[in-house]
């Protein structure tokens, strides 16, 4: 069973190492204290009593000697008795010293033993002869014995002093030894503390590194690798793996799941990036959050240039007011589908698009952004314009064709009817065009027709309409005129300008033109009538010799 099976156990393991270190220091301190206690106990039970008894015995012996001396010199028996009484204190003291010293001090034992014997011998003699001498009141009667006793006593005193000195030395030695022991203990404790501390540091670091830091570092590497898009190997799981290992496994599992999701997202991104339509996602503040490739191709901006830019700036200037109102609608949840709008790209040219937009919401209902789709309809619009041109204009001369002319004529008729202003309709047919066409070919004929159209346009105002109705037939609508005189003046200018020679294939050719003019009047009810009248006038001009104009009058009908 792995004892480091989870983080709690690992922390406990580190704590236990520190605790063991503390225990080692405590045990060392306890040992040191026990050593000191042994010394103090020994000193308290043996050495100090021995010393104090030695000192006491020495002083008692001196006192006894003094009593004897006083007794003998003064002849006082009482003093001698008192001296003898002191023996009752000295002898037990010496016995106790012998017992104390017996076990513990081999070197002192013989000295104290002999001291006791010496004292006992002395006392046996002293107690006898001193008393007898005092009783006889003649110290000199026992001169030999007393002289002998004096020598014994001197020797005894010297021995007592020596023993007392040795006891003093013993005590000093004890304290000196204890000082040394304390110094040794201090060093010993310091070494034990440092060693324990170092061991604790090394072991705790090793444990923390092996069990926590390295596994966490592996997870960090996994996260870094995942962040860089690398494939992460499945962590090896062992039985009884701890929370870190579980975390690694969970992370690996999460990355695997995310990888699956990421594949789907790539797929979606791929689709979005490869779709032909532009997709722009806006933030709620209408700045651009992200775009697809189609948008970049459409606008010729880089992704970096677009992201963060306000969406208004990519709309054509003319549409900005509309855009603002539209986006207010988006923010309120409105949807726009396929309206025509104009983006503005890098070259600031308007790009026609079908624009759709819809708001995006977070699950809690808050606005997340706006999704904007746009299809480039430039080609479509061009084709449509082409069709529109073909439907309303003459391809050869670029002049409005019959359709457009009649359209404008109808509008002019109704406006004239409404506002009562005067307008005129010219119906024109080239003279001698067919021979020119036959002689120089259709291309030359087309060229002549283009030149005629140009000259006609030069002759009239911009507000007037020059139209080719077909073949060599033209029509002019003078939308507003003052009077018939203005019409005649314009007709004269037309005859003039058309009458100027055309340079065709190096030849100067003269073309004429016959003009039928119909002025508006209150009687005219339709455009067809006007055309018919003008046509009639034109044919009248033809009939009258061509290259002239005829103003329609009801008499011609």
């Amino acid at each position: 069973m792995n004892i480091l099976c989870n983080i709690r156990c690992k922390i406990w393991a580190c704590g236990s190492v520190a605790f063991l270190s503390y225990l080692a220091i405590t045990l060392a301190t306890a040992w040191v204290n026990s050593e000191t206690q042994i010394f103090i106990t020994h000193a308290q039970r043996i050495d100090l009593p021995l010393f104090s008894k030695g000192v006491l015995a020495n002083s008692l012996l001196n006192a006894q000697n003094q009593e004897y001396e006083n007794g003998l010199l003064a002849g006082e028996q009482g003093e001698v008795h008192q001296a003898n009484m002191l023996h009752n204190q000295i002898a037990p003291l010496l016995d106790e010293m012998v017992q104390l010293v017996d076990v513990n001090h081999n070197d002192l034992h013989p000295s104290i033993l002999s001291l006791r014997d010496e004292y006992n011998n002395y006392y046996v003699m002293a107690s006898q002869y001193y008393l007898e001498a005092v009783q006889k009141n003649d110290i000199f009667a026992f001169r030999n014995e007393i002289h002998q006793l004096g020598k014994l006593q001197a020797s005894l005193s010297a021995d007592f002093k020596e023993v007392a000195g040795r006891l003093q030395e013993m005590i000093n030695e004890d304290f000196e030894k204890n000082k040394q022991r304390i110094e040794f203990h201090t060093r010993f404790l310091a070494i034990v503390f440092i060693l324990s501390f170092l061991v604790a540091i090394v072991v705790v670091n090793w444990l923390a590194n092996r069990e926590i830091i390295v596994p966490l570092g592996k997870i960090k590497m996994m996260i870094d690798d995942f962040g860089r898009g690398r494939t992460i190997e499945k962590p090896q799981s062992s039985r009884g793996g701890d929370e870190i290992q579980e975390l690694a496994s969970s992370f690996w599992q999460m990355t695997s799941d995310i990888q699956l999701i990421t594949v789907s997202r790539n797929y979606v991104d791929n689709i979005i990036n490869n779709m032909s339509d532009s997709l722009i996602v806006l933030n709620p503040d209408l700045t651009i959050q992200t775009t697809n490739h189609a948008t970049l191709n459409l606008l010729h901006f880089s992704k970096e240039e677009l992201e963060g830019r306000h969406f208004r700036t990519i709309f054509s200037h003319a549409e900005k007011a509309i855009v603002d109102s539209l986006f207010h609608g988006f923010l309120e949840g409105k949807v726009v589908t396929n309206i025509e709008a104009f983006y503005t790209g890098y070259d600031e040219l308007p790009i026609p698009v079908y624009f759709s937009a819809s708001p995006l919401y977070f699950p809690d209902g808050a606005l997340q952004g706006i999704s904007c789709m746009a299809s480039d309809i430039s080609e479509l619009k061009e084709q449509r314009d082409n069709l529109e041109f073909l439907a309303n204009f003459d391809k050869l001369t670029g002049l409005p064709n019959r359709n457009l002319f009649f359209d404008r004529l109808t509008v002019t008729v109704s406006e004239a009817r409404r506002y009562g202003h005067l307008f005129a309709l010219f119906y024109l047919d080239l003279d001698n065009f067919k021979p020119l066409n036959d002689k120089y070919g259709h291309a030359a004929g087309d060229h002549a027709l283009q030149e005629v159209a140009r000259r006609l346009q030069e002759t009239v105002r911009d507000s007037d309409t020059v139209s080719r109705l077909g073949g060599d037939e033209f029509a002019i609508l003078l939308s507003r005129i003052k009077d018939a005189g203005e019409t005649i003046m314009i007709a004269t200018k037309i005859l003039d300008i058309i009458g100027k020679p055309f340079l065709i294939q190096g030849d100067q050719c003269i073309l004429g033109i016959s003009i039928g003019i119909c002025l508006s009047s209150t009687e005219i009810t339709s455009a067809d009538d006007l055309v018919k009248n003008a046509d009639m006038a034109m044919y009248a001009a033809k009939a009258q010799g061509r290259n002239r104009f005829i103003l329609f009058s009801p008499e011609q009908v």
């Binding site: 002083s59 009593e67 001396e69 003998l72 010199l73 000199f140 006593q153």
Partner: protein, 149 residues
């Protein structure tokens, strides 16, 4: 310890008292004794101080190296006089001195004789001996030694 000190102090005071009162108590005529040595001894005079040292056994041999044998004459008529004159202390003090010397084992006390006759006889027989006797007890066996003050 204190007890011992008191006892010692008491002993010292006693000795000083004896030393102080001694000469006043033993004041006697100076010429009622003479110092005597063996007749074969060459000594004729002696300084008082030398005599004191000899009797206090602080000098224990003659100039020729022979041991000095001191004899204390306890004849009460001259004992005090001798003690005061030669030893400059009372006879009691001298006695205490001798007792202390004996008690402390510092040396055997001198021979003590009771009468002049015993002293003269002893000195006459022992060449290295010295003592003191009444002037009228002097015989040819001994020689009187003059004391120089």
């Amino acid at each position: 310890m204190m007890l011992t000190l008191k006892k010692r102090t008491g002993g010292l005071i006693l000795a000083l008292w004896l030393f102080a009162v001694g000469p006043a108590a033993g004041a006697t005529a100076q010429d009622d004794f003479v110092l005597v040595v063996n007749s074969e001894n060459d000594l004729t005079t002696i300084n008082r101080k030398d005599a004191e040292l000899i009797f206090l056994k602080k000098q224990r041999s003659w100039p020729d190296g022979k041991n000095i044998s001191v004899v204390i004459n306890e004849n009460p008529r001259i004992y005090d006089s001798f003690s005061h004159t030669v030893l400059r202390r009372s006879s009691q003090q001298f006695l205490v001195f001798r007792k202390q010397m004996l008690f402390r084992g510092q040396g055997m006390p001198p021979l003590t004789l009771k009468t002049d006759q015993d002293v003269v006889a002893f000195v006459g027989e022992h060449i290295g001996s010295i003592s003191y006797v009444s002037p009228d007890a002097v015989t040819l066996a001994v020689k009187v030694v003059s004391i120089l003050q």
